[in-house]
Symmetry: C2
Subunit: 213 residues, 2 copies
Amino acid sequence: VRISELARATGVSVPTIKYYLREGLLPSGTPTASNQADYDVTHVERLRLLRTLREVGKVPVSRLRDLVAALERDGGTVHDVLATANDALSPTPPPDVDPRARALADDLVAEAGWNRVRPEAPDRDNLAAALQAVLGAVSTDAGRNVLRAYATAADRIGALDIASIAAGDRQSVLRRMVVGSAVFGEILSALRRLADEHHSALRFGDQDGERVR
Amino acid sequence: VRISELARATGVSVPTIKYYLREGLLPSGTPTASNQADYDVTHVERLRLLRTLREVGKVPVSRLRDLVAALERDGGTVHDVLATANDALSPTPPPDVDPRARALADDLVAEAGWNRVRPEAPDRDNLAAALQAVLGAVSTDAGRNVLRAYATAADRIGALDIASIAAGDRQSVLRRMVVGSAVFGEILSALRRLADEHHSALRFGDQDGERVR
């Protein structure tokens, strides 16, 4: 199909498609006699993937290259690709993480039994940076118990995420993994805020006695 | 203290402090004879809150106003403020959510028993927008079971979030609630990606047989 039809089929604008072509994020089409190019189902699939990553995964354009490179790389285990995808989907950690917060993050990872997480995984620093903002509160026994409960919930979800990756050819396994990591992160965030709203209404929403002074 | 000392105490730059003052996000200081103003511990606390919301909660400057208004509003239950904070911390939902995805989101909320969530909560549409990206996969029985497990994990976490809000004066309860909602969202996202990495390494990291074709 022509580029205009490709745009119609995927909901991605022609200028954006041209940008992806220039940046090597989308493979070139097959040149046709009329000084145009012909695109096929692989282009449709790649554009849908890029659109999902941008719109749902909120992946910056600058990170798309790493993800596409991981998708196209030969060899390596599925796990190598998941680690690359995770790194591309993680926020860039701040440069000045408090060593106490980082030690707490490493403790939590160890306590959860996640002994296969790379020491250099950027999410260790992302976790530490978030912990740093509430370091007083999470350094108490009660705070530590809340963190452990979070880690337990995350462990169940992580086991489920990986168990639900179905077998298939390389491209489709990797695409599902990358999309799953981005999309299910958004699903979990939205579900948590919805659960917060419900439980807050139960505890704080009705009685005058629960009004804040 | 003077504005320069306020900047040093909070790590927020003088130009940013002046911007917050102009925008009404930070109350004015007490005027002094020397055509300057004097700031106190309430200004330090507000600036720390604003910094945490910006840096950890990734709250856009344009949303800070809603949060500060919720903090300063008289009356209303703690729950009213949590709902406002959640709305300010939620991404803006896309305008064109597929009605089937929205119906699935509403089903999930109902199945989870979250009958106190407002019909107009923007996170219903945020959940729907994420579900829309994987609608084929989550419309199967297996996909539905994964979503239910996510909702169960979110329900435990939501109950925990609300249970761990300690009593206190209005400002401190609200501050902990807003910071908690932003910061613990980041903590959960980082923990999930770390758990994914661990479980992926267990399942896919070692054996040649698990290499993707």
